[in-house]
């Protein structure tokens, strides 16, 4: 059974409201998970549990947390992600808009990159949303 993009957003919104204790109105596609919604690292595990249950999918840890890339000396120089690193991130996370990050690709900026819209696009690829 295929789901629509609206249904994906509604379920993602419900999961985030429950996991983060935020209001529905705060969960907009543009909202960043960490900066705007206050998600901490442990919340991502909770969110993954909820999304897996809600959509009946499996979310491998690496697909949403590319720590291995961000801690790999091959892809990081002086605290900045290299061009090769960005290419690798884009390959791993095609659902994320990296344009802002590319302007100042410091590793510490990565944690506040992911938006609600990115989460939805990720789920859409998993469930084949129309």
């Amino acid at each position: 059974m295929s789901v629509t993009k609206d249904e994906v957003f509604q379920k993602v919104q419900a999961a985030l409201v429950e996991a983060l204790g935020v209001d529905e109105e705060e969960v907009t596609p543009q909202a960043t998970m960490v900066g705007d919604l206050g998600a901490e690292s442990i919340d991502f595990l909770d969110i993954v549990f909820k999304l897996e249950k809600s959509f009946g999918i499996e979310i491998p840890r690496k697909e949403l947390s590319p720590e291995d890339i961000l801690t790999n000396a091959e892809y990081v120089t002086d605290g900045k992600v290299t061009d090769a690193g960005i290419a690798e991130l884009k390959r791993r996370m095609p659902f994320v808009d990296f344009s802002k990050f590319e302007a100042d690709p410091q590793v510490r900026n990565f944690s506040n990159l992911l938006t609600v819209g990115d989460m939805c696009r990720y789920i859409e690829t998993k469930v084949g949303a129309a």
């Binding site: 429950e18 996991a19 442990i42 919340d43 595990l45 909770d46 993954v48 549990f49 897996e52 249950k53 840890r61």
Partner: protein, 187 residues
């Protein structure tokens, strides 16, 4: 005071479900200052007892290879206070176990009455944390034996569960240091 917030397991089904009881007594320290004039069991310590029930259930499922810590309480509803003299029955059900954490729901009943409903998430400590078990193996074995985990513990197929080899060996070494019960001791 020992940080044991359950008294014993009454049921333990590997990776699935556990029931533990906690008898609340007026003599316990936590009753003293929490709500003077109206002695109750602090809800935070009920949550701790639930976390111990569910956390041991989840840890045992991996042979205690995973270091399980309470990460988040997603939902906690308390319907009425638990008071000295009450026997709290914590029933923990595993909802999901993944590579980096687990979810469980736990209820507390006093008699037939539903006293509390809690959903909690556990994280497994990874290699960002110092290696090694969270507890001294011998102390840990003594604790879970005291809780009766291996008296009532079964697999989902009804077979008795056993201590993982690492902990069984720690127990054997510790016991070897003491003479058998009943043997004469030179003074």
């Amino acid at each position: 005071m020992r940080w044991f917030w359950i008294d014993r397991f009454e049921q333990f089904i590997r990776g699935k479900r556990a029931v533990a009881i906690k008898a609340v007594a007026m003599s316990e320290e936590q009753i003293d200052g929490y709500s003077p004039g109206f002695p109750v069991m602090p809800p935070a310590l009920i949550i701790e007892g639930m976390a111990q029930t569910a956390g041991l259930l989840i840890g045992e499922a991996s042979g205690f290879e995973q270091r399980v810590v309470l990460a988040k309480v997603g939902k906690a509803l308390f319907h009425f206070p638990a008071r000295p003299g009450d026997v709290l029955r914590y029933s923990a059900t595993v909802l999901d176990i993944k590579t980096d954490g687990a979810m469980a729901e736990i209820t507390c009943h006093i008699g037939d009455r539903l006293q509390a409903e809690v959903e909690m998430m556990f994280a497994f400590l990874d290699d960002r944390f110092p290696a090694g078990p969270l507890f001294e193996p011998v102390d840990f074995v003594a604790m879970i034996r005291t809780f009766g985990m291996y008296d009532v513990g079964k697999t989902a197929d009804g077979e008795p569960i056993e201590l993982p080899p690492f902990y069984a060996e720690a127990e054997r070494v510790a016991q070897a240091a003491y003479p058998p019960v009943g043997s004469p001791v030179a003074i």
